[in-house]
């Protein structure tokens, strides 16, 4: 699938923090009864992981699983594995009431790196971006500037942000602007 | 009543203006009136004025819970235009606009009607089509409007950015005789003229209950006591729901906050009224020099006269994009008013389920421009006991019949 391109085609920007187009990323929306054991078994079989608690994202070797709403997960796998993972889940849940759909191409993903990733996002998201407001490993669905976005920190210096594909280049520009060198408010002292 | 004129001012100047009398009386309420109007906003006062002037009914009281003109009439962005699409709307708004033309002389109070022209920008192909539709309709309705091109827009408003990267100005609907008026003066002028005819305006008098007998209205209870009446008019804009509940019926209305703001005063920068619907914002410059800017309405029920700040942000953003030079000006003050939004965004004038109780409401975000026309029509409707020619289409029954008067259609829906 060498023809497949992410929205910003691998662009990167180095400012107060680094912003990079994280490339194509496999994503599956799974809707269903999260309390159902069959469903968690299917997720486990497909990804090797159990279900995350509300608002959390769980990471493993083969990908990650994020809680999106009381009846929705977002499963991250390699881009090339998304379709086959959907098939796997569908097989495992055959006859059940659920929905699994590949949404990899409907998204753009960005990686932010450096001290200050919280401040960059705080320029546009109406969220308590302090470590107590958004602990590492918690995913937040909200707004960035004027568009929908979801993001989480894997540690204090690494943040991943997912948005819709059609606004990917807008979000990239937005992030670069927010990450301009010398513009992050220091939140100490 | 002492006539206002330049001579009167000159005479008074000699004695340090100690001779001016009250603009309106401050009467104690009588026990009973033929007609009581609740709400001394522009619409209530205009209703009372035309009851007296057109129908000779002067045993009338206007009852106001606060200070007259302190509702939406005292807090709106004063845009006056009549280029509405639907026949019924065009008729009443044009009636109002034409009354505004000579209102200062009628009332002997300078309401500063300023027919400087109103521009409604078309920034998408779709908007062009919508406005052209209005242009065609208006021509046949006898309302003077024209669709003009971007060059003419630029000539009328030199500070406008017509080739904005996101939403270039593709043209505009131009009503040359639209404009603004001094909002407070409209209320004060009507109040003074009413008072002069013997109509009582009773301020600081909140209506707390509506009394009825045999299914017909018999009077009101107020914080200044009971007042009986033969006919009652509810003209309370954002508080219509509260009064309707007192009268025992419900309305197809929700009350939400609508906001506005002014900049600090600057020298004349913009000579006409500009409305930009695609980006959401409208602007004019007052005779004092501040830019008067209107924003969006909240989507939730609210009686606090305070709105949510994001509307201010959206509006200012839109206007900076349209008028880049305002970026370094400053917001002086923001405020909100509670507007009464109906199911089809058009007003209600007419009878209510309670006999002899009439209502004029639902003007929502756009009733300042309608004040003289609405008062004219409501007065006729109350005097006759049935809707006059203007009110006929605006009865409440239109909702259950499915006969909307929807003005948003010119804008349509995105495709």
């Amino acid at each position: 699938m060498s023809d497949a391109v992410s929205v910003c085609n691998g662009a990167s920007f180095s400012g107060a923090v680094q912003v990079l187009d994280a490339g194509l990323c496999g994503m599956i929306t799974l809707r269903g009864d999260l309390a159902d054991e069959k469903l968690s078994a299917a997720v486990k079989a497909a990804t090797g992981m159990g279900l995350p608690k509300p608002r959390r994202i769980k990471k493993g070797k083969r990908g990650a699983v994020a809680w999106m709403s009381p009846d929705e997960l977002l499963i991250f796998v390699d881009y090339d594995l998304a379709d086959s993972t959907v098939t796997k889940i569908e097989r495992a849940l055959q006859g059940q009431y659920f929905l699994a759909v590949n949404v990899s191409d409907a998204r753009a993903t960005f990686a932010l790196q450096g001290t200050g990733v919280r401040e960059v996002i705080a320029k546009g998201a109406p969220v308590d971006m302090s470590p107590q407001g958004l602990p590492v490993g918690e995913i937040r669905r909200t707004r960035l500037g004027q568009v929908a976005a979801a993001f989480w920190l894997s540690d204090e210096e690494h943040l991943t942000l997912v948005c819709f594909r059609s606004v990917g280049s807008f979000v990239y520009d937005w992030l670069c602007n927010a990450a301009t060198e010398g513009t992050l408010p220091r939140l100490t002292g | 009543m002492r006539r206002y004129s330049a001579f009167a001012i000159a005479r008074e100047a000699a004695r340090y203006h100690t001779g001016w009398g009250r603009a309106w009386r401050n009467p104690t309420p009588k026990k009973s009136y033929d007609i009581v109007i609740i709400g001394a906003g522009g619409h209530g006062l205009a209703t009372a004025y035309y009851l007296g002037k057109n129908h000779g009914l002067k045993n009338v009281a206007v009852v106001e819970k606060g200070w007259l003109g302190g509702g939406n009439t005292g807090r709106n962005t004063t845009i006056i235009r009549s280029n509405y699409l639907q026949d019924e709307s065009a008729a009443i708004y044009e009636k109002a606009r034409s009354l505004y033309e000579s209102l200062s002389q009628d009332l002997n109070y300078n309401v500063m009607f300023s027919p400087r022209g109103v521009l409604m920008l078309a920034q998408t192909e779709h908007e062009i089509r919508g406005y052209k539709r209005t242009e065609h309709a208006n021509r046949l309705q006898g309302v003077e409007t024209r669709f003009i091109g971007p060059k003419e827009v630029k000539r009328l408003v030199p500070i406008i950015e017509i080739s904005g990267p996101r939403y270039p100005v593709l043209g505009a609907l131009w009503q040359p005789r639209g404009g603004t008026a001094r909002h407070d003066a409209v209320a004060w002028g009507y109040a003074r003229a009413c008072s002069d005819m013997g109509i009582d305006i009773i301020q600081q008098c909140e209506v707390t209950a509506i009394r009825q007998k045999n299914g017909a209205v018999s009077g009101i209870e107020t914080t200044k006591g009971e007042i009986s009446c033969n006919k009652l008019g509810l003209v309370v804009a954002g508080n219509s729901g509260v009064l309707a509940e007192m009268a025992g019926f419900r309305l197809p209305i929700e009350s939400v906050a609508l906001q506005a703001l002014v900049s600090e005063p600057i020298k004349p920068a913009i000579n006409v009224v500009v409305m930009a619907n695609t980006v959401h914002g409208y602007i004019s410059q007052s005779d004092k020099g501040e830019l008067v800017i209107g924003g969006g309405a909240d989507g939730f029920n609210n009686y606090t006269q305070r709105g949510s700040f994001h509307h201010i942000e959206e509006t200012v953003r839109a206007l900076i994009e349209t008028f880049p030079i305002i970026s370094r000006l400053k917001m002086l003050r923001q405020w909100g008013g509670i507007v009464d939004m109906t199911g089809d965004r058009s007003p209600i004038i007419g009878r209510t389920p309670l006999e002899n109780c009439f209502i004029d409401c639902g003007w929502g975000t756009g009733g300042f421009k309608a004040i003289p026309g609405s008062g004219w029509s409501m007065a006729a409707t109350m005097a006759r006991g049935e809707p006059d020619e203007f009110a006929a289409a605006f009865g409440m029954e239109r909702f259950i019949e499915g006969r909307f008067i929807d003005e948003s259609v010119a804008a349509g829906v995105a495709h």
Binding site: P126, D128 | Y109, P115, T304, V413
Partner: protein, 1004 residues
């Protein structure tokens, strides 16, 4: 003359001289100066002209309350009108100009002399300019408006950028005086998150110039130490140059941070607007001094006593050589003493109180200063500068006792707590008669989401004037906030203050008490808007009794300082005129912002390319590079046509249509909404959503469907595909995808929550590309990979598989009437597929086409377009779409509404086709049809309007569709369409399907 002193000036750095210009004059100042202090240091006491009478104006205050010293700052793309000199930090190269005068500040033709001013009392314009009628519009109003406004209009686009910052905190403390610092320390120690903001660059507030001692050391030393302790607390954030601009519902507050106003060379955004959510807000915003109301109090050289002290202590600037002090309280004596100790002359202290026996007056007397008690200023003399004052008894009406030469007057009418932020969101005030001030009523605070008060006033902002009480109150405020949030506070660890004790104030609202009309006409309340005591009295006399009426009639407090100096004095005058108490009169409403904030900051980063998100299809860049003439469609942009070099838009559209009809066209339809609906109840659900039956659709087939709202009106349309037994794919309009997805979720979550249906919006997962035209099949065959024959893939069917090596779904649907396939491929492969299609289509004459060609082709076929044929008031029946309304279903959204009398009225507007009498004439879009004579009210009798109108290159004549009253019954009738300039176009009512009614072209 005002001048710089050799000593004093704790905020300036005399080693760092700065240059600036004022009205072109080159002047000098120091690092740390404000523009106001630097102007005074240069002897510039005349700084502007008032709004109405163009009276000469000097600097009155030293903070944001300044009404007069408004200047135009900078030039070109950095020019800003109405900037306060008192809040503008001086920087090297600053350029300032005074405002509202012509030809010059010194000599202003607009100035209205005293005799003339008489003819312009409050509200005079309501009483005149009415005759003759036309004169207002053509003569008077242009004059009034020409004279309006203060600052100049900027001529260029702003050069700077702005941004937002969201911040959540437990406690926000506004004001970095000793109260704010005390509160921050106590709150900080609790471990809660604290944000302390101060509008000026410096900390410490008034205590720094008042000789206050804290914990046994000077206030300045304590402040420095307190700051060091606070900076060491990780949970405390300190920000200077950041103003608390507004307090809003549910603990929302705006912080206005000015990042580079003090040094425009600093890169990055100029202002940052903080959008703060705080669980508690402590307002430690101090107090503002009130002017006194005496005749001539607006003459340059008359200044607030506290400001005099500020200029002296902070900037080493004296307001004059002979500064007379006039007061009704002890606090102003501090200024007199400070002036005297700085070696300046204080010719007299005029104290309205019958006696002045407090420690400060005694000290003043001990220093040899002349103190006149029970006295008042009768009149200030001077034109552009104070020259002397007359002394009179406060109790009388102004009989002159003495005339005292002076070149400056320091006045103090007492202090008003800054209650703005407390009041913005509904906090109420109470009148404190002893201290003659409105102060926050702790029993009626603004209430937050949970109903608890969320603002707490502290220190002087809470009505405490003595430093001792200020520090105690601030400690209590912080402790209360901390406790309310469930943490522990230790107010015992608070700092304590000592200051000179002060004796009670005597409220003085008029000086002298019985000033007559003549004096009242010269006694200013609102310096910027030229509102005098006489104006307020006139308002009361004329019945504008409510304080809100008075405000609006006189414009008191409506100037750019929002009455920070004038409001209390004004309403006291009003109360007096009405013989009412001050609290009975009340205040006007406090509204944000506390002090004007830039529109730039309010807009934030959203300008230029970041103004509004633009949605781009996967083919966007290619289209852009290949002649796309863009058209905004919802948040997307779609190509209206793709122009080749030398082509007009119209030519391009014609070419695209003909080529598609003759050969084959390529369309980017990716923006179409695509929603997956899945579950055991999916069919049942879609039956409710669409007017037609969807549950009967066979797997592998497509069906065109209509959606209505509960009012019966058509809101969207599109093709529904049954992917499997329990899974449907619903296509929506481009603008509709998010709306319709939300609509589905709304019904599923709030009405039929027991139905088993899941939805997912997969609009952006796919690039959807139309290959349309007689040769479409050949192109697909050339691309290879799927059997697209008539048998394998008949009209209104779909197939899943590979095309050109790319995973794809192929739908055989048509919006043009041609043989047509829509191919959905993963968005990331959209461009790759597009390229392959172009390559394969080359041999068949394939050309891409845009939305206009699409629109014309669908109109030729009589297909409706949501937004053209519909406008939110049209029901499917109006559009001859009755066939798409199932009669078998008990219910669907909109069904009930469509049964209402007006909806079944045969005289509703119905869709018809139109052929103009002259086939080459195209009806203007939206032209209206009329019938019969005019109506009684003079309007034409309108019977409908054109919804779509084009010249059809395929047919070689114009075509149109229209909604016409009773249209279905009018086939063959000729209608009149009066258009501009008296032209009437005639057109015949026909069937709206103009081309291939049998559908032979699409069915091949």
């Amino acid at each position: 003359m005002s001048a710089r002193l050799a000593r004093h000036g704790r905020l300036i750095d005399r080693r760092k001289p700065l240059q600036f210009t004022f009205n072109g004059r080159h002047l000098h100042g120091y690092q740390g100066d404000t523009l106001a202090s630097a102007l005074l240091a240069n002897g510039q006491t005349l700084v502007g002209r008032s709004f109405k009478y163009h009276r000469p104006r000097g600097i009155v205050a030293a903070g944001p309350e300044e009404p007069n010293a408004l200047v135009g700052l900078g030039k070109g793309a950095g020019f800003e009108p109405n900037q306060r000199a008192t809040t503008t930090e001086l920087f090297d190269g600053l350029i300032a100009e005074s405002q509202n005068h012509w030809p010059s500040l010194e000599f202003d033709l607009g100035a209205v002399n005293k005799a003339m001013a008489r003819f312009f009392p409050a509200g005079f314009y309501y009483k005149t300019f009415m005759f003759p009628r036309a004169a207002w519009e053509h003569l008077f109003e242009p004059i009034v408006r020409g004279a309006a406004g203060l600052g100049r209009v900027p001529q260029e686009k702003d050069k700077d950028t702005y941004e937002y910052f969201y911040h959540t905190t437990d406690i926000l403390i506004v004001g970095g005086g000793i109260a704010g610092l005390q509160a921050a320390e106590i709150a900080g120690k609790s471990g809660l998150r604290v944000l302390l903001i101060e509008q000026t660059p410096d900390w410490g507030g008034r205590a720094m110039v008042d000789g206050v001692q804290i914990n046994g050391i000077g206030a300045a030393d304590w402040v420095e130490k307190a700051l060091a302790r606070l900076r060491a607390m990780p949970n405390v954030i300190l920000r200077s140059r950041m103003m608390g601009a507004g307090v809003y519902d549910h603990g929302y507050a705006l912080g206005y941070e000015r990042l580079s106003d003090h040094d425009p060379k600093i890169p990055g955004p100029r202002h940052r607007l903080w959008r703060i959510r705080a669980r508690r807000i402590i307002t430690a915003t101090g107090a503002i001094e009130r002017p006194l109301s005496f005749a001539g109090n607006d003459i340059p050289g008359v200044m607030l006593a506290g400001a005099v002290r500020d200029y002296l202590e902070n900037y080493g600037v004296s307001p004059g050589e002979l500064t007379l002090v006039v007061t009704n309280n002890d606090n102003a004596y501090l200024s007199a003493i400070a002036l005297h100790e700085a070696g300046l002359t204080v010719p007299a202290i005029i104290d309205a109180r019958p006696e002045a026996t407090g420690a400060l007056p005694q000290k003043a007397r001990a220093l040899g200063l002349r103190v006149e008690t029970g006295c008042a200023i009768g009149t200030v003399h001077g034109g552009k500068r104070v020259t002397s004052v007359t002394l009179c008894n406060q109790a009388g009406s102004g009989a002159i006792l003495d005339e005292i030469p002076c070149d400056a007057v320091a006045m103090s009418g007492g202090w008003s707590p800054v209650v703005h932020l407390w009041s913005h969101c509904g906090g109420k005030l109470r009148w404190d008669a002893d201290q003659a001030m409105f102060r926050p009523d702790p029993a009626r605070p603004p209430r937050g989401a949970n109903g608890a008060g969320f603002v707490i006033a502290a220190g002087t902002a809470n009505g405490h004037l003595a430093a001792e009480a200020v520090m105690e109150d601030a400690a209590e405020a912080a402790a209360a906030a901390v406790r309310a949030l469930g943490a522990k506070a230790d107010p015992a660890k608070r700092a304590t203050a000592r200051s000179m004790p002060e004796m009670p104030i005597l409220p003085v609202w008029s000086m002298p008490a019985n000033a007559g009309p003549k004096l009242r006409m010269k006694t200013w309340l609102d310096f910027q808007n030229d509102v005098k005591v006489s104006d307020v009295r006139l308002a009361a006399q004329e019945g504008y009794e409510s304080v809100e009426h008075t405000k609006r009639y006189t414009t008191l407090g409506m100037a750019s300082d929002q009455g920070k100096l004038s409001n209390i004095n004004g309403l006291a005058v009003l109360a007096d005129s009405l013989s009412r108490d001050i609290p009975q009169v009340g205040t006007t409403t406090f509204r944000p912002p506390y002090h004007p904030i830039s529109f730039g900051a309010i807009a934030g980063e959203a300008r230029g390319p970041l103004f509004k998100p633009l949605r781009k299809s996967p083919i966007h860049d290619w289209l852009d590079a290949n002649g796309a003439h863009w058209e905004p469609v919802a948040d997307w942009r779609r190509p209206y046509c793709l122009r080749r070099s030398g082509e007009t838009v119209k030519e391009a559209v014609t070419r695209e249509i003909l080529n598609t009809r003759q050969n084959v066209g390529l369309l980017d339809a990716s923006t179409l909404g695509k929603i997956i609906v899945k579950g055991p109840d999916a069919g049942r659900f879609l039956d409710m959503l669409y007017t037609n039956m969807m549950s009967s659709l066979k797997v592998g087939r497509c069906r065109y469907g209509l959606m209505c709202n509960e009012n019966g009106f058509l809101i969207d349309d599109g093709v529904v595909v049954r992917l499997s037994d329990d899974t449907f794919l619903c296509h929506t309009t481009s603008g509709g995808s998010d709306r319709i997805h939300a609509w589905m979720e709304e019904w599923l979550q709030t009405e039929w929550w027991d139905w088993q249906v899941y939805t997912a919006n997969v609009t952006e997962q796919f690039a959807q590309i139309g290959i349309v035209g007689p040769k479409a099949r050949s192109v697909l065959e050339a691309l290879g990979g799927m059997d697209v024959s008539r048998e394998a893939l008949p009209f209104m069917a779909f197939q899943e598989g590979q095309i050109a090596g790319i995973r794809a779904r192929v739908y055989r649907i048509s919006f043009s009437g041609e043989l047509s396939y829509e191919i959905a491929v993963p968005a990331a492969l959209g461009q790759a597929f597009w390229n392959k299609a172009l390559a394969a289509g080359g041999d068949f004459g394939m050309q891409p086409y845009g939305t206009e060609a699409l629109h014309v082709m669908r109109a030729e076929k009589g297909f409706i377009m949501i937004g053209d044929e519909t406008d939110g008031t049209v029901i499917p029946q109006d559009l001859n779409l009755g066939w798409a309304i199932s009669r078998k279903k008990d219910d669907f959204l909109g069904k009930r509404a469509q049964q209402r009398p007006h909806m079944v009225d045969p005289n509703r507007k119905q869709l018809v086709g139109l052929l103009t009498e002259d086939p080459q004439v195209v009806l203007p879009d939206a032209a209206h049809a009329v019938e019969g004579p005019k109506r009684a009210n003079g309007m034409e009798n309108i019977i409908g309007h054109v919804t779509s109108s084009y010249y059809s290159p395929t047919l070689g004549h114009s075509i149109a569709m229209a909604l016409i009253k009773g249209g279905s019954r009018r086939m063959g009738e000729t209608l009149r369409f009066p258009v501009a300039d008296g032209v009437v176009i005639r057109a015949q009512v026909v069937d709206p399907v103009f081309l291939d009614k049998e559908g032979e072209r699409q069915n091949v």
